[in-house]
Symmetry: C2
Subunit: 315 residues, 2 copies
């Protein structure tokens, strides 16, 4: 492995541990913004294919037109120890299996200096569980991206030490990410809790026969989804309250919201419901396979991000 | 009142009953797309101010660059009967009070021909309740727009007769709206059920001290909200399942979703929680008043809609 000494800490060396879809996406994002990356995955086939796998996300990032004057250099390592040796931050994207991640951290901790941050992309495990048994738990943070990570701006952070979170924020902000910070460890962070709550009702609407899968998705994309891409849910109700804002909304419509909450469903993913969801999504996909649907999603995301950026540049 | 005979049914005469924010927005949208509109509101001050009130939404629509060669003509009537006399469709936007709406329908039914559609913008009442006691219940449909209606494409339809729903769909599609149809009458239609389900968890996250109001909103806008502006919730999980799609997602991650659903909150809007939401939104607003926040929302919506339109034009 050839490593490069970095003097500017924000363009410092990054280690990517686990190179599935999330790891590939992080790799592309760090390289694009000028970081040298050393990556490791236990699967030799994934290691061998990584350079090719990051090409498409790198192209998409170039289409968005951000990025460093010179992209970083990608090195693929055969061992964890070698991959993390020169890193200032280790981004871990291993499967969501607690003992496996804990074993990895032990291995990583043995090979890095005390100031190096370990950031877990975990979507469903908590910092408290992951940090158990570490020599230096404060160096671990959860840094949850949203799929696809090279396009979605969100990174959700939690950890025990604010100076470490500040350093991580600086690094991710340098990748044009938008960081939010949890005040308390929580399964599913913020975004997946919200997504899960919404999907529960989306499943319920199908299970109750209120509407088809495709119509539920269309209602979201042309209604609340579009609005939530520009204002959050709390802000939407603040604006829904007219001149009196949130206070007026809560005093006038709070009770009716509570009544509506009571009418929302609590579906189970029974075989019948699953069959209906699968048939419904096939109708919505209308013969388009996953790669085509993904390409369409990405093109629409890139267009939305460009529009957002143009507006921010004007402001 | 001066009325104009329309020969093209899709550019036919529209009556707007109730001219608050929703009614004003519908008025602008119909006018912009070439429909003549006759509007009525019980409040003389609102009637007097309507021509001025539709200017801003008309300008925003012009910014979006859609619209008819010649906008329709706006007439303000002093009585319901006069307003509906020549309409092919009556869009009702009265307050969400069942007896009030039912009394209005009786009045409207006495003044219109048998083929005229009455469309209610109701967000929280059901078709079954609203149509009770009507002479011809099948002429009533619910046609729920999403705020702000002149910018948001969604219209959610329900009614008892598919030919009437087909005609309404043709009219709204002519306004560049995206119609979805409910298979069953349901409080909150689709979009507000989804919005309500998401907001319940957004409130819970604040109530539990997991994150601040502003961070919850930012997570949504930079994460799931952005993604739901391009793919629906069901489609997002279909894509989250990799090559196996929804079927693979459900078999591998269905059980973990059910476990997550069980951990979502069921908050109450207690005085403490309300105080926290109000303080949180004030922090997020950072001194910006409602008009400024609304203008910002609208500018972002217009940019997102333009990006979407450009992409559809390319496809």
């Amino acid at each position: 492995m050839i490593s490069v000494e970095n003097t500017h800490p924000i363009n410092g060396h990054i280690a990517i541990i686990g190179c599935g879809l999330i790891g590939q996406s992080w790799t592309a994002l760090f390289l694009f913004h000028g970081h040298d990356v050393t990556a490791w995955d236990p699967d030799p086939a994934i290691r061998a294919g990584l350079t090719k796998a990051v090409k498409r996300p790198m192209e998409q990032l170039a289409e968005l037109g951000q990025g460093a004057a010179r992209p970083g250099r990608l090195t693929v390592s055969d061992t964890v120890e070698e991959a993390v040796a020169n890193a200032m931050l280790v981004q871990e994207n291993a499967p969501e299996h607690l003992p496996l991640k804990q074993a990895l951290y032990a291995q990583v901790e043995g090979a890095i200096g005390p100031e190096v941050i370990i950031a877990s992309s975990t979507s469903s495990l908590t910092w408290s569980a992951l940090s158990e048994g570490m020599k230096r738990p404060s160096r671990l943070i959860t840094a949850h991206p949203f799929n696809p990570p090279h396009l979605m701006p969100l990174v959700e952070l939690f950890g025990s030490e604010s100076t470490i979170l500040d350093r991580a924020t600086e690094i991710y902000t340098g990748l044009d990410r938008h960081c939010v910070r949890l005040r308390k460890d929580a399964t599913g962070h913020i975004a997946n809790r919200l997504a899960s709550a919404l999907w529960r009702e989306a499943v319920n609407i199908v299970a109750e026969g209120i509407a088809d899968v495709a119509d539920v998705d269309a209602a979201l994309v042309h209604g609340p989804g579009l609005r939530w891409s520009v204002v959050g849910a709390h802000m939407a109700y603040h604006l829904g309250g007219g001149e009196g804002g949130m206070a007026h909304y809560l005093s006038h419509l709070g009770p009716s919201q509570e009544r509506r909450w009571a009418t929302l469903g609590n579906p189970r993913l029974t075989p019948d419901v699953c069959a209906e969801l699968i048939a419904g999504i096939q109708a919505e996909a209308a013969g388009r396979g996953i790669p085509e649907l993904e390409a369409d999603r990405d093109a629409r995301l890139i267009a939305a991000l460009k529009a957002r950026e143009a507006l921010n540049a004007d402001a």
